[in-house]
């Protein structure tokens, strides 16, 4: 399109209704942040439920929290923080035209995401074995006070919804990895990668709150 050629851009980047690439990038960024705002409010519903029930059942929540594997929770925190770091690096390398390094960082990020899910799976398996499960499935011998089942309801809802976001983020990152391998991103244009990165950071942000609220009461 002449529109793009006039600005010295490769084809297929600038949409016809934007006057410049900067304007379009700004639109993408704003759109992504609005989307992240909706994600934050989606989680807000669960955090509200958590707050109400922790207020109503402080003993049960403290007691149940101590039956979670703090070591695994902490490890997962470190894994996710590091993955957030590597994805930030991936964007940095892409915008400084170091494609190989960007690819490596993306692969690492996806690896960390898988590791996170793996560790979470270990924890879930343990919960299934000791029957520390939500609502009507709760039959854990360790804690037998009112509200214990509610702790695990919140635990599973929150980590479950977060897990779904990890999977979604991983799929986005894999797609971005493929596009990076194709050489779509460079100092000229890396907005797609930046958007994927923002999403992944949000997944990290949510976990930063989930970790102390669930594991460290």
């Amino acid at each position: 399109m002449s529109h793009e050629a006039a600005q010295g851009l490769p084809e297929g980047i600038l949409a016809h209704h934007f006057s410049s690439l900067e304007r379009q990038n700004e639109a993408m960024r704003l759109g992504m942040w609005l989307f992240l705002a909706t994600e934050i409010l989606l989680f807000a519903g669960l955090f509200t439920g958590y707050a109400v029930y922790r207020f109503q059942f402080p003993l049960a929540f403290a007691e149940c929290s101590r039956h979670l594997e703090i070591a695994l929770g902490t490890l997962n925190t470190i894994v996710l923080i590091t993955s957030s770091f590597t994805v930030a690096l991936a964007i940095h390398f892409a915008r400084t035209d170091r494609r190989r390094a960007a690819v490596i960082c993306l692969v690492l990020t996806i690896g960390f995401a898988l590791a996170f899910l793996g560790i979470k799976a270990v924890e879930y398996t343990a919960h299934f074995h000791e029957r520390s499960l939500p609502g009507k499935y709760y039959a854990f011998e360790g804690v037998k006070i009112l509200g214990a089942a509610m702790f695990f309801t919140m635990y599973f809802l929150m980590t479950g919804l977060h897990g779904v976001h990890v999977v979604a983020g991983m799929s986005v990152l894999s797609w971005l990895l493929w596009r990076t391998l194709q050489g779509r991103y460079s100092s000229r244009y890396y907005t797609g990668l930046e958007m994927g990165g923002l999403y992944w950071h949000l997944v990290d942000l949510v976990w930063i709150f989930l970790y102390p609220l669930l594991y460290l009461i």
Binding site: G8, A88, L146, S187, D204, Y211
Partner: protein
């Protein structure tokens, strides 16, 4: 004009540095260690405040540096801040309701009760000694 703008962007990107990312990463790990160490002490009523303060600091770092909010336009910053304000709003009025509600009386023999009115709870077990 557009040509020179892209050119300008190009130059700034070459100078783009990864040092802040490394610093933030290390800071996040340190904060994780701090929240872990304070968390396992079970500091009573301060525990939640400390944990949330650390979590907020960590997320501020992620948002400002990793997510480039520091260099973003005012509109994007406003979006993020607004979403947090409304999270606070939902939390505030919902928790304030529960906190200021009458504790409903539980009839004798009811299968459940609130912790305050019926400390034995669901399964005829003793209460743990600690708060």
């Amino acid at each position: 004009m557009a040509e020179s703008a892209t050119q300008h962007q190009h130059e700034t990107h070459d100078q783009h540095s990864a040092v802040p990312y490394v610093v933030v990463w290390i800071a996040l790990l340190v904060f994780t260690a701090v929240t872990y160490l304070t968390g396992i002490q079970h500091l009573g009523k301060w525990a939640l405040a400390i944990a949330l303060a650390i979590a907020c600091t960590k997320s501020a770092l992620v948002a400002l540096i990793f997510m480039h909010l520091r260099e973003s336009s005012g509109a994007t910053r406003l979006v993020f801040v607004t979403s947090l304000v409304f999270v606070a709003l939902l939390l505030f009025f919902t928790v304030s309701d529960v906190a200021t509600r009458f504790t409903l009386a539980t009839p004798a023999g009811a299968p459940f009760g609130t912790e305050r009115s019926q400390p034995e709870g669901l399964l005829e077990h003793e209460m743990p000694a600690e708060e």
